[in-house]
Amino acid sequence: MEFINVIIKYIPLFLPAAWMTIQITVLGITIGVLLGLAGAFLRISDKWWVNAIARIYIFVIRGTPLLLQLFIFFYVLRQALSLDSMTAAFLALGLHNGAYITEIFRGSIQSIDHGQMEAARSLGMSYPRAMIRIILPQAFKRSIPPLGNQFIIALKDSSLASAITINEVLLQAQRLAAANYKMLEMLTIAAIFYLFYTSIFTWLVNRLEAWLNVDSK
């Protein structure tokens, strides 16, 4: 009972940190999706050097830990570009997620039957128009499940920003526990927030999927 009372008592103290988690996650995902869209277009280009730009980006980002990327933004780029810590955090998260989302979008674009592009072109549509009108809407729908998964990963990865002084949920748990010695309770609260967020994400993604599934292929 004592355990639950402590949790109820301390939850309000987590609210600013929970808001911080949401901010860096949402901003990180937004940048990630934009980078992912751009990256996917580079990746499907038949010009080798355009393709190479995206490949190098993915190679570097996927091949190094997010924590290292956060450090680069925090210790190197933050000063060079005079960013605040939060900006450094969501930029790093965005850049990191962009690499994975690039591959998600590329995969779903390439999974659309080639006949769709041919049918659009045979009506006289230009390549960009066929992409926008015919290929991307179908590809976007297919990318929802892996994208939802990536969003959940991004949410949990945001906890790594605690290592660069961002006062998000996990750092707040550590800070409070250092003062009240209730490590289990504080970590439990942090877990509750993450579970709450991931539940909402999952629900939203499922709703989106159901909504886009009107044509029930």
Partner: protein, 241 residues
Amino acid sequence: MLRIENLHKSFGDLQVLEGIDLQVKKSEVVVIIGASGSGKSTLLRCINFLEYSDQGKIYIEGQLLNEKNEREINQMRARVGMVFQHFNLFPHKTVIENVMEGLTQVRKISKFEAKKIAYKYIEKVGLTDKEKVYPAMLSGGQKQRVAIARALAMEPVVMLFDEPTSALDPELVGEVLLVMKELAREGMTMVVVTHEMGFAREVADRVIFMDDGQILEVGTPEDIFDRPQNERSQAFLSAII
């Protein structure tokens, strides 16, 4: 209407078309037959540049097409209807939206007008009760009829059919052929790649037999089916009839 001169196409080392010459007159129905891999489909796809030929010239309504000019190719494609073996309807759009797509996006016709035109062609292929459903809800034969309506709505000068009934269950072939016969009767210029010999015999003005990337024999349906001259067309026809 359509003139092809000395068309060559290869995929890597494989020579698929070896110097095709063909003329199709206005309102003519030309049916191309031949074994799988003979180059029939590739020939059809070269006509509207879904494949780029290695050599040769293509004229549509007297205009020589320049494959380098993307704009010109797009304009040509808008006037050349294409019907695919696997329909290739847009699954995220309803029947009427499928038919309207080229009208609003390529011909830049207002939505209101496009709807009227689309409806006319949906009616023509006998699917007025299906205008608001998605392709996934249709049978194969219905899908192909929508695909024909989509191509017709662009008011093409020639229609290309690439094995339009090959992916259909046997009992659904008839409804598609019926639409095609009606088109032929109305004077549509058509080039049809098909294995439906009954259709070829009944509807074609000319039948072309292709083998190994070449046109081996051209003639009226009677010439080709009753008195084939070439050894290989004889062998092909005796194998399938």
